[in-house]
C-alpha cells in the first residue's frame, strides 16, 4: 500500500502477510494450444461450409462425401490429390528458401506462369528426343521463373523496391505477357487447323515430352512430378540444415547486420535465395505443363502459386513439414474439383475450399503473429 493517508499509516501491520493479488486476465486463444486451435478453426470452417451448402439447397453430408470421393476414396482420387500436391510442394519449398533468407516472395503465381510459358516454348519448338526435350523444358521453366523473380531481386538491391510489392505486381505483368503469348500466332498460340477456330492456348505438347505417369485411370496413378518435388524438398532441407550455404542463408534471415559483419553477401545470398524461389515456382509450372493438361491457356496458374505460399506458411518454413501440408492442400483441391462436378455451384465450392484453407492457415498465422509480438516486446 502506498497511500499517504494518516489513518492507514497508523494501522498496525498485519500479523500475516497478505497474499499477492492474483493477476486476472482474459483467456487468450494461445492458451488453447496448437492442436486445440486447429480443432477449433477446422470445426468452425466445417460448420460454416455446411451451412453455406445447406443454404444453396444441397446436402452438407453429400458434399462431405463428394470431397472425400474426390480426394481419398479410391486410387484415382488419391492419385489426383498427389498430382495436385506436386506443384504446391515445389512452390512451398521455394518460398521456404526465400523466407529463410528473410525475403518474402509472394509472386510465385507469376513466376510459375512465366516458367510454364518458357517450358512450353522449349517443349514445342525444340527438336530432339523426347526425354531430352522434357528435361530441357523443365530446366527452362525453372530458369524462366528464376529470371522473373530476378527482376524483383534487381529492383530490391539496385533501387530498394520492396520485394513484397515488386513480386506481387509482377504477377499482373506475367498474366498479361503470357496471355499475349498464347493469343499471338507468332508466339505460342496453337496452330490453325483448316475449318476450325483456334482458341487462346498453345498446341498440345508431343506425348514424348509428357512427364511419365505411374498407373492408369481409373486405378491409382500419379505423375512423376511428385517425385521431383519430394527429391527437391529433401535436398533443400539438407542444404538448409547441413551446409555452409544453408547456415549463411539462415543467418541472413535471422540477423542481416550480424550476417553482414560475418561476411555474408546479402546481394549474393539473398538475391540467390529469391532467384531459387522463383526457379522452384517456375519448375512447378513446368511440372503442371508436362504432367497434366499438356498445354497452356489463360488462367493456367489456377492459384497454385498462392496456395503453395500458404503451404509454406502452414509448414512454418520447414521443407519437410511442407510435404504433408502440400498433400493436404492437394486433397482439398482435388476434393473441391470433384465437389463442383456434383452440381454444387462453383462459387460455393470456392468458398468452402477457401474456408478449409483459412482454417488450416489460421493457427500457423496466429502463432507467427504471436512470435513476432513476443520478439518485439523482448
Amino acid at each position: 500500500m502506498t497511500s499517504t493517508s494518516g489513518t492507514l499509516i497508523s494501522e498496525p501491520p498485519p500479523a500475516v502477510a497478505a497474499p499477492e493479488p492474483v493477476e486476472r486476465r482474459r483467456p487468450r486463444l494461445a492458451d488453447l494450444g496448437t492442436p486445440l486451435l486447429y480443432l477449433l478453426s477446422l470445426s468452425t470452417a466445417l460448420a460454416l461450409a455446411g451451412l453455406l451448402i445447406a443454404l444453396v439447397g444441397q446436402s452438407p453430408w453429400d458434399a462431405a462425401n463428394a470431397m472425400y470421393d474426390g480426394s481419398l476414396a479410391d486410387g484415382a482420387a488419391i492419385g489426383q490429390s498427389i498430382d495436385q500436391a506436386a506443384p504446391l510442394l515445389l512452390v512451398a519449398v521455394g518460398s521456404v528458401i526465400a523466407a529463410r533468407a528473410g525475403i518474402f516472395n509472394i509472386g510465385q503465381e507469376g513466376q510459375l506462369l512465366v516458367g510454364a510459358a518458357v517450358g512450353a516454348a522449349i517443349a514445342l519448338f525444340t527438336p530432339g528426343p523426347g526425354p531430352l526435350v522434357l528435361i530441357l523444358a523443365l530446366l527452362g521453366a525453372a530458369v524462366g521463373g528464376a529470371l522473373w523473380a530476378g527482376i524483383a531481386a534487381l529492383l530490391f538491391y539496385w533501387r530498394g523496391v520492396a520485394v513484397v510489392i515488386s513480386t506481387l505486381l509482377l504477377i499482373f505483368v506475367a498474366n498479361q505477357a503470357v496471355s499475349y503469348a498464347v493469343n499471338s500466332p507468332s508466339l505460342l498460340r496453337e496452330k490453325a487447323v483448316a475449318g476450325q477456330v483456334t482458341t487462346s492456348q498453345t498446341d498440345m505438347l508431343a506425348e514424348s515430352v509428357w512427364l511419365p505417369r505411374i498407373g492408369e485411370y481409373p486405378d491409382f496413378n500419379i505423375g512423376a512430378g511428385i517425385f521431383v518435388a519430394l527429391v527437391l524438398a529433401v535436398g533443400t532441407s539438407l542444404v538448409l540444415v547441413r551446409t555452409r550455404l544453408g547456415f549463411r542463408l539462415r543467418m541472413l534471415g535471422l540477423n542481416p547486420k550480424a550476417a553482414h559483419r560475418a561476411g555474408v553477401g546479402a546481394v549474393l545470398v539473398g538475391g540467390g535465395a529469391l532467384l531459387a524461389s522463383g526457379a522452384f515456382a517456375g519448375l512447378a509450372g513446368g511440372v503442371m505443363l508436362t504432367g497434366n493438361g499438356h498445354r497452356m491457356q489463360d488462367g493456367f496458374a489456377d492459384n497454385v502459386g498462392f496456395d503453395g505460399l500458404l503451404v509454406a506458411l502452414v509448414a512454418r518454413d520447414k521443407p519437410m513439414l511442407a510435404v504433408p501440408v502440400a498433400l493436404f492442400f492437394g486433397a482439398l483441391r482435388a476434393g473441391g474439383g470433384f465437389l463442383s462436378a456434383t452440381g454444387v455451384p462453383r462459387y460455393i465450392v470456392a468458398v468452402v475450399t477457401a474456408l478449409m484453407v483459412l482454417a488450416t492457415v489460421f493457427p500457423a498465422a496466429y502463432a507467427e503473429v504471436r512470435r513476432r509480438r513476443t520478439a518485439g516486446a523482448a
Binding site: D74, G195, Q196, V197, P218, D219, D298, F300
Partner: protein, 363 residues
Amino acid sequence: MKNMVRVIAASVIIPGLLLTACGGGSSSSSTTEAGAPASAGAPGAGTLPANEPDVNKDKKVVIGVMSPGDTKDKGYYQSFVDEANTYATANGWKLVVVDKINPANAVQQARNLCRQKVDMIAIGASELKDALSAAKEPQCKGTTWYISGGQGVTQTAEFTQSLDYINESLYVAGYAAGLILKENGGKKAGYITGPDLQFARDVAKAFEAGIRKVVPDAEMVQTYTGDFNDSGKAKEAAQAQISQGVKVIYPYLGGATDVVTQLANEKGVPALTPGTDRCGTPGAQYAISVIFSPGAYFAGALEDFKKGTLRMGVAREWHLGKDPVPTVKLCKPTGDQAQQLQTLIQDIGSGKVKVDEAVAAGK
C-alpha cells in the same frame, strides 16, 4: 537428425502404403456394350451407343453439362443449361452442371463426371475440347459425348458435335444492324467483346461486312475488354463508343452483355443479342436477336438421345436459312425491314448469296 530421418521415412512410406492399398483396383462398373454399327450403307455415319438414353443401364439418366462460362449469364452459356434442364425435368432425368471450368482442368472435370456414371457429357463450347480426350479412358466407357463445336472440333468416333458458321449468322446480324443504321441515319456501329481472340475478330469481320452491305461507308468501332464478364470494363467501353457517336451497338459478351444494353437503352442506341432470342423479354431491351444459342442445337441432340438415335462420330451442321436456328430477327421492324432481312436469310440458305465471299470482300 533423427527427426529428419523420421520425416523423410514417413514421406516415402506413406505414399508407398497408399500405393499398396489402392493399386490394382478394378475399374468402375460404368462400362457399356459396344456401340451398334452405323446404319448399313452409311459410311462415316458413326455408331449408335446401345441403350440410349440410359447407356450405362443403371436405370436412371444423368446428363453432365460442362461449361467454360457462367451458366447464369442470361445468354449463350445459360441457354445450353436451360435446354438441358427442360429435357431433364420433362423426362425425369438428373442434370449435373459444372460451369466456369478453366480449360486447363477440362479433362479432370470430365473424369469427375464419368466417375459419377453420367450417361451423357455435354460440353457447352469448344474451349473445353480437351475434355474429349477422357472419352477413351476406361471410366468413361459408359458415356456418350456431345460438344457444341462451333466452327468445329476434329471429329473422332467417341463424340457427336453440332456445327454452325460464324459468317452466316454474323453477316446477317450486321445486315440487320445496317438496316437500323440506315433508318436512324447513323454511319458508325460499335462492337464490344472480351479477349482479343481469333473468333472474336472473325465475328467482327462478318458483322462489319453485313453492315456495309446496307451502309457501304459505315465505320465500326471495336473494343476488346479482355473479359466477357467484366461489367465495369464493358460499360466503360460502351460509354466511350456512344460518346464517339455509334448508333447501334453489339455487346458480344457473356455476363456483361446486359450492362452494356441497359446503358445503350438509356442513350437510345439499339443493341443486338449475342446468341439468344431476347425480343420482348423483361429487363434490357434489344433491337435485334441474333440467335445461335448452343441450347437450340443441343435440343436437337437431346431429342435424338431420348429417342435412342443419337450417333457418335458424326457432326450435325446448322445452317442459316435451312434450319430453324441459327437465325436473326428484328424485334420491332419498320417498313419492309423484316422482308429485306428474310430475303437475305433465304438467299444465304439457298446458296444464292455466297456469304464467305461476301465477308472476305467486306460487304
